[in-house]
Symmetry: C2
Subunit: 397 residues, 2 copies
């Protein structure tokens, strides 16, 4: 019998409790072991809840109970999630999380603590929701050379961009609709300003290149500035606009990570990833282009990814733990300057004339838009010296 404590009885935590109950038979068949949720820790009042006998307020009870071997941290936010996770690992308990903030901010510390205590720290649900992505990266792609990763990693903004591109909605209209459908939070900043995507691409980057970068140091642009003119021009160009987290290794050994809206051409498998779905394109030297597609969020899908991690831990529970992958915290100086990376740009400037040799897309309302050849932003800004740039969207090529 494997005994689990679920910390945080919110949306995902509640989904996990439900799923473990519902799938007990599958788990038994798959792992040969029975599981039981022994505690649910939450500081809120659940005195009328049918599971109230399992619900406790004090995490120390979990920490001091040797029967509990697996802790599912479903709190969200950095604290006390990080502190509880570290304490649990130090107490020799496996920790599973869906908390990308903690993984992005403290992953290297928690992976080290897991290794020191011969337990696992797993976080499949932190990126891509239901999509198996962390485990395939660790196990199937790990000995290949990853050329780049380009991911649609946030369902809320992908829903909004899909509705802006396909149904001609504005940012405000699509945000209102996303709120109505429960996709967007009251404060949507983490989604629409790209913060959520940034944490996730930093995690994927760490899995690719072994170092976790401070997400605050990564150039991050959200989708607030995407205008009707941008989406109209995208349609003219036969492309779509997606919020993309991208990581790649540059020739001089630095890592280039960036979050920004990107124009996606039809030849990319990301072109068709619409609505709340996520898609993660991994371009590998040997395996070629792989894409992983599925629901990036949602109570039960995300809980399903947490459960997959719990299953992995249970399968290994009687054997020696495998050495977990370990990260170092990266030095910001090894992060490539985004302005030095050659890209293709969609650009719009005020005026009635653009420099020669640029491919004009539209000329309206005193603004001319165009697409550049592959160039760096540095060079582009030099070329456009004197112009007022009103829009700049990179192509994901």
């Amino acid at each position: 019998m494997v005994k689990i404590a679920v910390i945080g009885f919110g949306n995902i935590g509640g989904g996990l409790v439900e799923l473990v109950e519902r799938n007990k038979q599958f788990i038994k068949k798959d792992t040969g072991k029975e599981v039981e949720i022994k505690y649910i820790v939450d500081i809120r009042d659940f005195s009328g809840h049918p599971l109230k006998k399992k619900i406790i307020k004090d995490f120390n009870i979990v920490l001091n109970d040797p029967e509990v071997s697996v802790v599912a941290e479903m709190i969200g936010g950095s604290h006390p999630a990080f502190d509880f996770s570290l304490a649990a690992l130090k107490a020799g308990k496996h920790v599973i999380t869906s908390n990308k903030e903690v993984v992005a901010n403290f992953g290297e510390i928690l992976l080290q603590a897991a290794d020191d205590n011969n337990v696992s720290y797993l976080f499949e649900a932190s990126v891509g929701g239901a999509i198996p992505i962390i485990r395939p990266m660790r196990e199937s792609v790990s000995s290949d050379n990853i050329i780049f990763i380009s991911g649609i990693l946030n369902g809320t903004t992908n829903y909004m961009l899909t509705s802006m591109l396909k149904n001609g909605k504005t940012f405000d209209q699509s945000l209102a609709k996303a709120r109505e459908l429960g996709y967007a939070e009251a404060n949507p900043s983490a989604d629409v300003d790209g913060i959520d995507t940034c944490r996730k691409i930093c995690i994927l980057s760490a899995l690719s290149y072994g170092k976790i970068y401070n997400s605050e140091s990564v150039y991050t642009e959200g989708i607030r500035n995407i205008s009707k003119r941008d989406t109209n021009d995208a349609e003219k160009l036969g492309v779509v606009i997606k919020l993309i987290g991208r990581t790649e290794k540059t020739e001089d050994g630095k890592v280039f990570i960036m979050v920004s809206p990107r124009m996606i051409t039809e030849s990319s498998p990301l072109f068709h990833v619409n609505d709340v779905f996520n898609g993660i394109l991994i371009s590998c030297e040997a395996l070629g282009d792989l894409m992983f597609y599925g629901k990036g969020a949602g109570r039960i899908p995300t809980a399903g990814a947490v459960l997959a991690d719990i299953i992995e831990v249970i399968k290994h529970i009687d054997t020696k733990q495998l050495p977990p992958s370990k990260w170092e915290r990266a030095d910001d100086s090894t992060l490539a300057d985004y302005k030095s990376i050659p890209m293709v740009f969609y650009c719009r400037v005020k005026g009635d004339k653009i420099p020669d040799g640029l491919k004009e897309v539209s000329d309206e309302d005193g603004e001319i838009s165009f697409v550049t050849e592959r160039t760096t932003q540095e060079q582009l800004e030099k070329m456009l010296n004197g112009y007022e740039i009103t829009s700049l969207i990179r192509f994901d090529v």
Copy 2:
């Protein structure tokens, strides 16, 4: 130092040897171990080859060499691939393969032998080429309820169908082009008659439901009969035609497996899987719809998937082996009759009139085509009693 023997120095075997050499550093970093290919076994003459010192003709040398802990079976075909694999497992060596024929025909025997001898039998490359699919199914989806799997599993036929649908080519024209590009074999039957797809969907079905069905017992239709009229009608309907391997559990506990061309609507992520790419859609109860996309074939991509299995074995080589998943050989009587499963059909009949209530698609050359409501083939044939059916393509919904 982990010593490997590669059996079969053909396309994939050659790719594997190349890849192991090229990725030695990644492997060392990822697993902590050095690897060496000690033998390459092939009965053909390689006396002028730069690796000739490693190339031997007698498999027994591998079998009797205790230094070799991993055998990569890259021969293809049932025999001697099965016999060599079984002997290697019994000699306590891990076996990795890309051979779907052996896995489909003898998987249950080889998995049992692996378990008995505390080694692994891994076959990631047997389905989906480069796409990580076997491992995610074993590890990420294993405790979820799989509702169905629908897969584009053969790159050659997907290339051909894409060219028939998008470029208006006939079957013969697209086959000629596939041959020219090296996608199709001189004898293309395994691809175009659906045999390859059938073996792969049987393997995915076994991973889903624990039983491996005889692929000869599975209703299998290839793409030879797809006509210009079919593709024209598909265009009219806004759908594409793909060769689909599908498995699902029926309400009465049987398993329904089928290989046939299917009409795919735009709402399916399989709609956009074109050319030689494969796409595997797994619909799960908790995780929702997942799709895995990538190169389904090719020397280096497939070798990359074999290498991922080798890496897994190396990572576990000092620890107790995990119990491998085991299958039983399924009794054909538990295979659902495909004519009893409700589906939506595209159908064409000779004549100038069709039964009332059917949605006509086109009426040309003395044949009327239409789309049915959800019904079984049994009921459809009853309804069309007296009609000559000239085309029947199922929808994948």
